[in-house]
Amino acid sequence: MARTLDTTPAVEPRTAGERPARRRFRQTAGRQHHAGPLTYVLLIVATVVSLFPLYWNVVAASHTGDRVVQAPAPLLPGSRLLDNLSFAWDQVDMGEALINTTVVAGLVAVSTVLFSTLAGFAFAKLPFKGRGMLLSLVVATMTIPPQLSVIPLYQIITDLGWFDQLQSVVLPSLVAAFGVFFMRQFLVEALPVELVEAARMDGAHSLRIIWHVVFPVARPAMAVLGMLVFVQAWNDFFWPFIALTPDGNPTLQVALAGLGAGNHTVDHAIVLTGALISTVPLLLVFAFLGKHIVGGITAGAVKS
């Protein structure tokens, strides 16, 4: 039974991947105007503005600190990249921060995707009392900024001896309202309620339905949500900055904040090498999976 569900055509139109998006594009914008030269010029300008700071980050990380602060600023890469990298890795412990960040972002992404899918499925397809009200509550919580919780949380983690420990940044992020809403929006349209009912008729209990019906249908959205949450957790700043210390057990962002404040060095080449180390892994993810992330952002937004 699960086999046949896997290939249900109903899944197709909502996948966030490349092909359906293109097909939809053709349908809706097929008769639209071709771009003129001015459009290309403007888009190339936008691309250059978007990418230049990243390029210059590489340039600055490949020179000496003295060269970086000398006018005119360097425009072409120098030869010091490996030296700077090894200095940042050994002396500033960017390596440890990289591992910490990977662990935190990985745990947060997996748990958020799992819990968001369960809750999103319940909100999308299961009838229960108070569903509409509770869903509005989920959406409303998205507007509450982290500033409202950091003071008590700081006291709690200090009391528990969790200050500067990774669990203090993982636990509050185990599931996010955004994820619940995202999965709900996807499953409302992607999962035919007949599938759930048929499985119920067969006497399948809920965990079985989750495993054999919901997960196969939700997989593309789960992947996109996982990437979005991973990026967000990787780049999270405010709470990690309070809960962790640059010299103790930092994530990359906290370590960078320490570098930026001149904790280890005022060598700007090293500071920007740290920035590079924190950015490159995500840029690699984007280079390979960017199309899917783009699809995910647009898919999530149309319905919101």
Binding site: L43, V69, I144, L153, G260, V294, V302
Partner: protein, 336 residues
């Protein structure tokens, strides 16, 4: 324990509830076909939605709601870091009302918010319009303008702090090339606020453009055809077809950007370098979040910091209220 999934090769629907063995003790006797299996089944159907949403609500209760309320209580007390609270009533709020630092931070949050949000959303709208043409390299452009979104606040700000450096930064070199005198981006008020807004704008414009693009692609084609039959120019079509059609999305991005602008913290802090925590040497770009951090973790008065947090909540509730009003009016207009 698991109720079996019955394979139905012939396609006939199985009975609604699986036949159950006779209840051994018959204590939980119910009308109709029943027994522990169907009880379990019914319990499963009824309770499981709450089980599925429980992780979110438990996490929110522990790390969102409880701290929010506790922050409210703290804001009515004098609390030192690590000390015991002492009831003060509204004193923290009245202190804020007479504090020039608070009004300065509130105003800075507002001005930086406007300078970073308005051009950002307008440019995103324009970019989305361009991307909506039939294009070569569409995928490339989309990923390229999204790359800043993948860059962290810290990394982006540290790079831009160099580009905006008054002595050797590339932006002043560029201005010099156009014959404009060098600008002291960090120490003067408006240049600093503009520089910080540039960082925010750089990170978020592409993201918002993609959201607008998705909304634009959902606009029915016949609206454009009707407009062009009426002789409307492309600009006219953009103004009177595209913009009204994607109004809910525009509205959504305004709300999200406003929420983001209210909490601005990392960009001004790291842009300011050694004086970042106080928002520049003359507090010229101290935001509410920075002031809150300074009160709580530098001065050590958590009560004041909590009061600032609640002021931020009040501001956001105000924004949310306006949003609810406007979207209700919109819905009425559409006749739903």
């Amino acid at each position: 324990m698991a109720t079996s999934v019955r394979a139905t090769q012939d396609g006939t629907p199985p009975p609604a509830a699986p036949p159950s063995p006779p209840a051994p003790r018959g204590r939980r006797r119910r009308p109709g076909p029943g027994g522990w299996r169907s009880t379990l089944y019914r319990w499963d159907v009824k309770a499981i939605p709450y089980v599925f949403i429980a992780p979110f609500f438990l996490t929110f209760a522990a790390f969102g709601l409880f701290p929010l309320i506790y922050t409210g209580w703290l804001s009515l007390n004098r609390v030192e870091l690590g000390g015991t609270p002492e009831w003060k009533g509204l004193e923290n709020y009245t202190d804020l009302a007479t504090s020039e630092f608070f009004w300065n931070a509130l105003l800075n949050t507002f001005t930086i918010g406007v300078i970073s949000t308005v051009p950002q959303l307008l440019m995103a709208l324009g970019l989305a319009h361009l991307l909506n043409y039939k294009l070569r390299g569409r995928g490339f452009f989309r990923v390229a303008i999204l790359a800043p979104y993948a860059t962290s606040i810290a990394a982006a700000t540290l790079v831009f702090a160099q580009l905006f450096n008054a002595d050797y930064g590339m932006i002043n070199s560029l201005l010099d090339w156009f014959g404009i005198d060098p600008v002291d981006w960090k120490n003067s008020k408006w240049p600093a606020q503009i520089a910080i807004s540039v960082i925010v704008t750089w990170r978020w414009t592409g993201y918002n453009a993609l959201i607008y693009l998705a909304a634009m692609q959902a606009v029915p084609q016949d609206l454009y055809e009707a407009a062009s039959l009426d002789g409307a120019s492309r600009w006219r079509q953009f103004i009177s077809v595209t913009i009204p059609s994607i109004r809910p999305t525009i509205f959504f991005t305004i709300i999200v950007s406003t929420i983001g602008a209210t909490q601005l913290f990392g960009e001004p802090m790291l842009f300011g370098g050694s004086v970042g925590i106080s928002g520049g040497s003359g507090h010229q770009f101290q935001t509410l979040s920075l002031l809150m951090y300074e009160k709580g973790w530098i001065t050590g008065s958590l009560g004041s910091a909590s009061a600032i947090a609640w002021v931020m909540l009040a501001l956001l509730l105000l924004v949310g209220g306006v949003q609810a009003l406007v979207s209700r009016r919109n819905r009425k207009k559409q006749g739903d």
